[in-house]
Subunit: 170 residues, 2 copies
DNA sequence: TGTACATCAGTGAACGCGCGTTCACTGATGTAC
DNA sequence: TGTACATCAGTGAACGCGCGTTCACTGATGTAC
C-alpha cells in the first residue's frame, strides 16, 4: 500500500463529505476530485462506483451509530434509548442532504451498500423490540428519521423541532 | 388566443405532471416536451421558467387545497380539521416526488411561486390558530407533511403509516 | 359565406455546458539485492 | 546504506451524452372585409 494512495483516498473522502453536504445529491464527482486536488481517474481508482464512495463516506458513521445502538441496548428505559438512537440517525442523515437517505431507502443492488443498510436496520430493530408496544415498524421509523433530516438541511434547530413533533408518540 | 396554443399548453402540463411524478426532480424539460409531442421551444413559449411550469402544475391543486382549508375552518373539531388538511397537503406533495416540496420549502425569488407559497401558508395558519394549544408552528407542520411525502414515493400506504406516526401528537 | 392577410404559436436543429467515465501514458513508491 | 527495478497509483485530455436554452424560419389560426 503506497502512502500517497492512502492520503489521496482520505482527501477524496473529505472533499466528498464537504460537497455532498453542501450540494446534496447534485454534487458532481469531477468537482469532488478537483477539490481534493486529484485527477478524476484517481477518484475512480479508489471508488469505482458512486455507491462505493457513499459506503466509504458513511462507513465510520454507521459503525459509530451501531456501537451507540449496542450501548443503548442496556439503557434502563427502552423508549428513551430508541428515541436517542433515532435522533442520532437523523443528525447523521442531515449531513448528506438527503443523498444517503434516498440511497439507503431503496434496497440497493450494491452488496456493500445493502450490508450497511442491513446493519443499521438490525441495530434499530434490536432497540425497537425492547419497547413494550412499539409504534409502526423499524423501517418506518428509520424512514421518518431520514425524512426529518431531508426537511432540515443546514438547520439543526428545525431538525430538533421536527423530531420532537414527529416522535412525540414515543 | 389560438386553440392549438391552449391544447399544447395542456399537453405540456399533463406530460410534466407525469414526468415529475415518475422521475421526481430529475425529470428533464426536453423529455417533457417530447412526451407532449411538442418542440422544446413550445414548452419555453408557455413556461419561460422552471418555476413558471411548477406554479402552473400545482395551481389547481393549491386552489383545491385552499378551498378545502376554508371549508374546514368551520369544522367543529379544530384538531381534526388541521389534521385532515395536512393529510391532503401530504398526499398532494407526494405526486411531485419531492420537487415541489423542496422548491416550496425555500422561499423563492419567483413572485408567482412565493404567492403560491403564501397561499398555502396562510390557509394552514388559519387552521392552526383555531387549535387550542397547537404544537410547533405552521411552517414546521407543513415541512413535516412535505417530508413524509418525500419519504413515501409511490407508496400511499407508507405515507398513511408515517402520517399517523408523525402526527399522533394532534 | 368566401378570401386575403397579419399575427403569433410551433418547429427543431444547433449551441454551449458540465456531467460521468476512460485510458494511454507518466512517475512515485516500496522492495529486493 | 545505496541502487536498480517492478509495481501500481496518478494524470488529465478526451469522449459521448443529455441537459437547458435559443432563434431564424415555417405555418396555422383568427379576423377583417
Amino acid at each position: 500500500v503506497r502512502s500517497d494512495a492512502r492520503d489521496n483516498r482520505e482527501r477524496v473522502l473529505a472533499a466528498a463529505r464537504v460537497e455532498f453536504g453542501r450540494q446534496g445529491p447534485r454534487a458532481s464527482l469531477n468537482k469532488i476530485a478537483q477539490q481534493a486536488g486529484v485527477g478524476p481517474g484517481t477518484l475512480y481508482r479508489h471508488f469505482p462506483t458512486l455507491q462505493a464512495l457513499l459506503v466509504a463516506i458513511v462507513a465510520d458513521d454507521v459503525a459509530a451509530l451501531c456501537a451507540e445502538g449496542r450501548r443503548l441496548l442496556t439503557h434502563p428505559a427502552p423508549e428513551e434509548a430508541l428515541l436517542t438512537w433515532l435522533h442520532a440517525v437523523a443528525v447523521h442523515a442531515t449531513a448528506m442532504g438527503g443523498l444517503v437517505a434516498s440511497e439507503m431507502a431503496a434496497v440497493s443492488s450494491d452488496p456493500a451498500l445493502s450490508d450497511v443498510h442491513a446493519e443499521i436496520r438490525g441495530t434499530g430493530a434490536a432497540l425497537w423490540e425492547r419497547v413494550a408496544s412499539p409504534p409502526g415498524d423499524i423501517d418506518d421509523l428509520l424512514a421518518l428519521a431520514a425524512a426529518l433530516a431531508w426537511a432540515s438541511p443546514h438547520d439543526p434547530d428545525r431538525l430538533d423541532r421536527l423530531f420532537t413533533l414527529a416522535f412525540r408518540a414515543l
